[in-house]
């Protein structure tokens, strides 16, 4: 186990290194000039050059990258060009909102996805099953931007059930969490259905029924735990999917998380923030995958960690 974790750790470091190199390079070749952006339209050429020099942007790529890496090694994510504050402070201030949104999204996707999947499995082959699978298919393929705006329009603007964007109370969380979770819900509905169908066919189900248990008990005690467990193990992987979704969802709903921070940093070409958010997201994905891999053998003893 210890050797396994050590190997995963080394892998993680290599992945982070690769992510940082690629991102840094893409930002370097970007046909946009952060110094000029920062200096604004009336700055003289001298001012732009002076800012470029102060930010170290007049050095060659490898010098800039090694400098960044050196600071990163000591845990320093650098300072924002625009806000003149440590990137770690800015990310820390926004991370709780993003985590809350993710927890909400996981809750939504499990609640909706599992319910749909179970219902479809129990009505296998009938019209309910087919309808639910169509719905799940739509959920998986609908662009989050569209879903978000649609939910906002129907439930916040027209019906007035929820606030129109923003942050602060439970009511604020519902729509963005639903938007972020709806894609996963579609996946879970399909997986839960096939997992459940699988379990319902098992011999122990017949045994349970044969020994006279009520159908509800059979379902709750024997079917559900066995069907749900392999699906729960997938949650770790969702984090990666969420990371790509938060930029859109947070922008639509004005949710003050790191997705919104990244979106604004991209518009301002604030390289240290873009790098910081990218690395934090990469870390989250790595951790999510690791958790998924560690849980898997606990659920299915046939899986071994190597």
């Amino acid at each position: 186990m210890a050797a396994y974790l050590a190997r995963r750790l080394i892998q993680a470091i290599l992945i982070l290194f690769g992510v940082s190199l690629v991102t840094f390079f893409l930002l370097f070749v970007l046909p946009a000039d952060p110094a000029r952006q920062l200096a604004g339209r009336s700055a003289t050429i001298e001012t732009v050059e002076s800012i470029r020099h102060e930010l170290g942007l007049d050095r060659p790529f490898h010098v800039q990258y090694l400098r960044y890496l050196g600071a990163l090694a000591s845990g320093d994510l650098g300072r924002s060009y625009q806000q003149k504050t440590n990137v770690s402070t800015l990310i820390a201030a926004r991370l709780p909102a993003t985590l809350l949104l993710m927890v909400g999204a996981i809750f939504c996707e499990l609640l909706i996805g599992l319910t749909m999947g179970i219902a479809a499995a129990l009505r296998r082959g009938r019209i309910t099953d087919q309808l639910l699978m169509i719905v799940s298919f739509v959920a998986v393929s609908a662009p989050q931007f569209v879903v978000g705006v649609l939910l906002l329009y129907v439930f916040a603007v027209n019906l007035g059930w929820f606030p129109i964007g923003g942050y602060g109370s439970f009511a604020h969380l519902v729509l963005p969490a639903l938007t972020l979770g709806i894609l996963g819900a579609g996946w879970y509905a399909r997986m839960m259905r096939s997992s459940m169908v699988d379990v319902l066919r098992q011999d122990y189900m017949r045994t349970a029924k044969a020994k006279g248990l009520k159908p509800g008990v059979v379902l709750a005690v024997h079917a559900l735990p066995n069907a749900i467990l392999p699906i729960i193990a997938m949650i770790g992987i969702d984090i990666g999917i969420f990371m790509s979704g938060i930029v859109v969802v947070e922008s639509v709903f004005g949710w003050p998380g790191i997705g919104q921070l990244a979106w604004q940093a991209i518009q301002q070409i604030d390289i240290p923030i873009i790098m910081g958010v990218t690395l934090v997201s990469a870390c989250a994905i790595i951790i999510g995958n690791l958790i998924a891999d560690l849980i898997a053998p606990l659920i299915d003893p046939r899986i071994k960690l190597r």
Partner: protein, 517 residues
Amino acid sequence: MRNLMLATATAFALGVCAPAFAAGEIVITYKDDVSTLDPAIGYDWQNWSIIKSLFDGLMDYKPGTTELVPDLAESYEISEDGKTFTFKLRQGAKFTNGREVTAEDVKYSIERVLDPATQSPGAGFFGSIDTIEVVDPHTIRFNLNRPDATFLHVMAINFAHVVPKEAVEAAAGDFGHKPVGSGAYKVAEWTLGQRLVLEKNPDYWKPDTPKLDKITFEFGQEPNVALLRLQRGEVDVLGDGIPPAQFLEVKEDPQFAGQIVEGGQLHTGYVTMNVKTKPFDDVRVRRAVNMAINKDRIVRIINNRAVPANQPLPPSMPGYIKDLKGYPFDPEGAKKLLAEAGYADGIATELYVYNTDPNPRIAQAIQQDLAAIGINAEIKSLAQANVIAAGGDGSAPMIWSGGMAWIADFPDPSNFYGPILGCGGAVQGGWNWSWYCNEELDKLAAEADSITDPARAAEREKMWSEIYRKIVEDAPWAPVFNEQRFTMRSKRMGGDDSLYVDPVHIPVHYDAVTVNE
């Protein structure tokens, strides 16, 4: 499950009710976060006016106008030769940390902007300053290297706002998030990315200012979401204005009558023509382009959110020539001019444009107009940085300025000349994309700007008008329109309309707006 539903219901009850506003408290929304409140750094839409409300400069403008008035300065004196400006500071103006504002603070604040380590975008504004002298704690003198008629404007710009040294040092590099000033408001609460709350500075020296007790800024609000919230009574002013997509719908809706505010901007949208390259080295071709463009149609394309322009200066700028006819829309006359210039067979050229809406649509309209007189302009729709680069190295024959156009930093005609029409800007990496360099006009401009005596302001204004008249004759640009700003306020907001589209405290003059109750 039932518990969850109960919790949801409770949250509705708590969170969704329209907030009951207290008198003197308002809510303003912005899409983007306010990145910094340091007057040496802040230079964007969200923070410009907030910084003006947190800090003071030696000079300011009468609310809603472009009229200069002393602010932290009580009075000022300009030497005969226009090279020495002496300001007398007001007694009793205090920073919100309790200390009095002194001449030493003024000196420190400007030197801080000039220090490269500060990375201030504003250093270039202080190019005329030679030395700064603290005469006594309430007197400061600027010795300039040339007479500079714009210096009073420069002393009103955010970069010249006064900061207390001890607070800058205590913030240890993070003054942008821990601002301390002498302005009408102070920061009461700030959650990064979410909200900023300003509260009235009870010790502010200006009587009856500010009019409000508290302003809450909410960030991350899409303009169309903000508009919906304003309709619901949750928001008082749209910081980003009325979103273009909803503009017509909102304007026609009687429900909003009296809530929409329209104002001019110190902005001009124009087409540059590179006078250094063929065929635009011939003034007849440049005039033909001016006559070919149907400006009224372009204004309609952007839903009448602008007025057609016939000269570089916008109408609200001093020096604007009211009686100027400009070039008429006359495709036939334009064709004749082209034939005279020897281009009867037509011209092939390129029109560069920033690739965000509505700019490509405007460029297409210009392309059609030019095609009608035989100029075949291929549209190069690129990222902003690429267009700026092509203008700065002279490789772009024509550029539509939309999305990158000049917006004046202060209301003075000189601000529209130097960097974008003068010889100083016609350099590699400069903003003078038509590469128009008329040394005679440069001389006239320098002469006009050396008239520092306020009593001769009208004379100076006239000189500037003449400079722009000459530029229109030489036609390095085809001015197209001046953008108007449209915003909306809730019914409870009071004060003159001009405060909501203030020409200097952009976008809103927070110190002067009021609530009717």
